[in-house]
């Protein structure tokens, strides 16, 4: 069966998707993205919510990659510029994400350092790499099984918004720490870039269609 398929795709030079037995797509049924109503896939609009009907998200991989690449580019200024500037007795000390973490380790607050490191450095980088890996896994066999890849996706989607912690911390500090003439905290340029990184990676994760992983034929 696999040999036949590869012959078909080789001769027609066209990517032909053969859906696994038992999926809605193999029965010619689309699962509405908006309301999860099942409908015959030849329909253009969902009979229940009138949303556009697709068997799979349109251009899922392209859009996901576009958002991820943008996020990766924005992650550079997010780390290069200061995320906030602490002014103590007229003495301004800008701090980037990484220098903030190092400062906390120096102060001995290992827990806060751990939270900031995880939320602002570990999770965003891991998320971007995992999504890139998942995009790759939709077309090539990987060491991880489909189930493991799906679990990985579930984890990235769940964890996505937690990177926003750093932005909220800055917002609260800026509002709270204003002792006239003594101490104040101003937000820095990196806060903008980092917020966009978080938002873009969240959109990228939403755009990614996990079902594409399950559509891939197992080549052993």
């Amino acid at each position: 069966m696999h040999a036949e398929e590869s012959k078909v795709s080789a001769t027609s030079q066209q990517k032909q998707i053969v859906y696994a037995k038992g999926t809605a797509a193999s029965h010619g049924i689309a699962n509405c993205h908006v309301c999860n109503q099942l409908a015959v896939s030849s329909l253009s609009y969902c009979p229940r919510c009138k949303g556009r009907l697709h068997v799979r998200y349109a251009n899922s991989i392209q859009q996901t990659l576009a958002f991820i690449v943008t996020a990766m580019l924005l992650y550079i200024p997010a780390n290069a510029y200061p995320i906030m500037t602490t002014t103590l007795l007229g003495d301004a000390a800008p701090s980037t994400i990484i220098s903030g973490v190092i400062l906390f380790i120096d102060h001995g607050s290992y827990f806060v350092a751990f939270v900031i490191f995880t939320a602002s450095i570990l999770i965003p980088i891991a998320k971007m790499l995992i999504i890139l890996w998942l995009c790759y896994a939709t077309s090539k066999n990987t060491r991880l099984s489909k189930l493991e890849l799906t679990r990985l996706y579930r984890a990235t989607e769940f964890i996505g918004k937690w990177s926003m912690i750093d932005i909220f911390v800055v917002a609260i500090l800026v509002a709270l720490v204003q002792v006239t003439g003594l101490m104040s905290i101003e937000p820095g340029l990196a806060a903008r870039a980092f917020a966009m990184v978080v938002i873009l990676t969240m959109i990228a994760a939403h755009q990614f269609d996990v079902r594409l992983i399950w559509d891939r034929q197992q080549q052993s």
Partner: protein, 215 residues
């Protein structure tokens, strides 16, 4: 509950008796009965499809109303007070994002306000406009529109993230100053709990089933 048999053939007119897994597209025949608090799990990718919560309609309305009331309280009292060198600074929940605005970070300020207050409020009000008429056996207004926007809005409500962010910020300034928690702080803590409960009970599939039944 787990179903092992993949569907081989389905009759054309019986689409209502099936659901398709949103993560792997597996067709799953709906079981006749789902016990209380029992979840339907996809046999192939183990993702949770739906849970049959007891009295889910009543609970959704109750949780949403409670969360909304707590958020009104959270917005009308002082959130945190910062005492240092004889100077006292009290902020409200709105000021947490308004000061970013004053610093010239307009977009960021609006995003923070949207994620923390506006989107959760929008979600709760929309769910209540939908569910209260359903509870009273009336036709809910704009049901389809609300159903669509609600599932779009939910991933962007970051109440629990904001709350953890507040705690981290407090650990940072704890040694610099004396921090007093306002009524608003505790109200927001409660709001986070009830918002999470409300959005959990009224899952996307469940909301659309109610919309379907009300028509």
């Amino acid at each position: 509950m787990k179903l092992d048999d993949p569907v081989d053939k389905i009759a054309d007119h019986s689409l209502d008796n099936y659901i398709a897994c949103h993560e792997c597209d597996q067709l799953i025949a709906m079981p006749e009965v789902l016990e209380r608090n029992q979840s339907l799990i996809c046999p192939r990718c183990h993702s949770k499809q739906l849970t049959n919560y007891a009295n889910s309609l009543d609970h959704s309305i109750a949780f949403s109303l409670t969360a909304l009331i707590l958020l009104v309280i959270a917005n009308s009292f002082p959130f945190l007070t910062f005492e240092s060198q004889g100077q006292v600074r009290t902020i409200t929940l709105v000021e947490a994002s308004y000061d970013l605005y004053l610093e010239g970070f307009y977009l960021l300020a609006m995003l923070v306000y949207a994620f923390v207050v506006f989107i959760p409020v929008f979600y709760l009000v929309a769910v209540l406009i939908l569910l209260i008429p359903i509870k009273l056996k009336l036709r809910p207004p704009f049901a389809v529109f609300i159903g669509k926007t609600v599932s779009l809005a939910l991933p962007w409500a970051m109440t629990e993230v904001f709350f953890v962010g507040v705690l981290v910020a407090l650990i940072k300034v704890m040694e610099l100053a004396n921090i007093l928690f306002g009524i608003s702080f505790w109200a927001y803590a409660g709001f986070v709990l009830f918002f999470t409960a409300a959005s959990n009970v009224a899952s996307k599939r469940q909301l659309w089933r109610w919309i379907e039944d009300a028509r």
